[in-house]
């Protein structure tokens, strides 16, 4: 779902470039505070995984395909700040090395698939886990990932409409329709990988727990 150069007009790509760069810079500062040495190889590996998984377009309906994005996955694993940095890094490598996604619209892509995907996915996951007290974690994860894709595609639709490419209602309907299908794939992959890599925290202070 990467926007290529040319889809957004000058005012939109310039605005999103500035906001995207600002958001990425702020995210790096937040990341600095959340970083732990032991996480460095894990972050690098998950970035590589997101890149690899994004290459796999799976067929949906009507001779259309979709692919994994990864905002929900990376933010559920590492939090939304590190998650959005991972997504920004993937988008930069894709645009610079593989010409996938435009350069002028890199900021727009970072905002939509990076920030919107990460924060919506993480927000839904956190809220769901809180409200349901951890029951149905797989379902919460699936829904968080599904909604992250739908929200990211809504962001793209807004930018397209703002560019005057086409009318907002039509843009939303078209983008959300396809991406609510693509979101199913996102949900399945996110649920499987987080289920594999996250485990319940084990207490390190059993002695203190006696009177709990």
């Amino acid at each position: 779902m990467h926007i290529p150069d040319g889809f957004l007009d000058a005012k939109v790509w310039m605005t999103t470039t500035i906001i995207g760069a600002g958001a990425a810079a702020y995210s790096l500062r937040r990341t600095k505070l959340a970083m732990e040495p032991k996480k460095v190889p894990m972050i690098a590996l998950m970035g590589a995984f997101v890149f690899a998984a994004q290459m796999i377009n799976f067929p949906i309906a009507g001779a259309t395909s979709g692919h994994f994005l990864g905002g929900a996955l990376t933010s559920i694993l590492f939090g939304p700040w590190i998650g959005s940095i991972i997504m920004a890094a993937v988008l930069c490598v894709q645009a610079l090395v593989f010409q996938d996604g435009g350069i002028t619209v890199l900021g727009a892509n970072v905002l939509c698939t990076g920030f919107i995907g990460c924060f919506v996915g993480y927000g839904v996951y956190r809220t769901g886990m809180l409200l349901l007290r951890g029951r149905g974690r797989a379902l919460i994860t699936f829904f968080a990932a599904w909604l992250s894709i739908v929200a990211a595609s809504a962001g793209v639709a807004l930018l397209l409409a703002w560019s005057g490419t086409f009318e907002l209602g039509l843009a939303l309907k078209a983008m959300l329709g396809w991406h609510s299908l693509i979101g199913i794939g996102e949900g399945v992959i996110t649920t499987l990988v987080t289920g594999y890599l996250l485990e319940r925290k084990v207490s390190v202070a059993k002695g203190v727990a006696g009177h709990a």
Binding site: K38, V40, A48, F98, L197, L198, S203, K206
Partner: protein
């Protein structure tokens, strides 16, 4: 005897939880430190990028489909004409599988190197202390 519920009520610091930190939530789950699992993730990543990628669907994706249906696909262009591996195909290799698979493996290695460098750099800077640049 400590049962499962009591263990779960311990908060982040391992102290007995109060009502607020009591029930299980997103913070009750942490990344595994099981090396085998991470090794399997690395293997899966390389296999997906190197072996599975040539068999990905080549149908237009969601946004391309919308652009095609609404007649603005032809406005797409590329400002950056010097990408070393455009469209995930390494030139000069025989066969689609090799071209795309090689692109995938190169991409994985670039991602590993880039994120390792960025996060290690940040880690080193923040670990040096004296950083008053605290963001709330």
């Amino acid at each position: 005897m400590l049962d499962g519920m009591d263990k779960k009520r311990l908060d982040d610091q391992g102290k007995p939880g109060n009502a607020a930190s009591g029930p299980e939530n997103a913070k009750s789950y942490v990344l595994t430190i099981n090396r085998t699992k991470w090794a399997i993730m690395l293997t899966a990543t390389l296999a997906v990028a190197g072996l599975l990628s040539p068999w990905a669907s080549s149908s237009p994706d969601g946004l391309e489909r919308v652009a095609e249906d609404h007649g603005f696909l032809d406005t797409a262009g590329a400002v950056h004409q010097w990408a070393p591996i455009p469209d995930y195909e390494v030139g000069g290799l025989p066969g689609n599988a090799l071209k795309v698979g090689a692109a995938g493996v190169i991409g994985v290695l670039v991602m590993l190197a880039a994120l390792w460098a960025v996060s290690r750099d940040y880690n080193r800077n923040s670990g040096s202390g004296g950083d008053t640049d605290v963001v709330n």
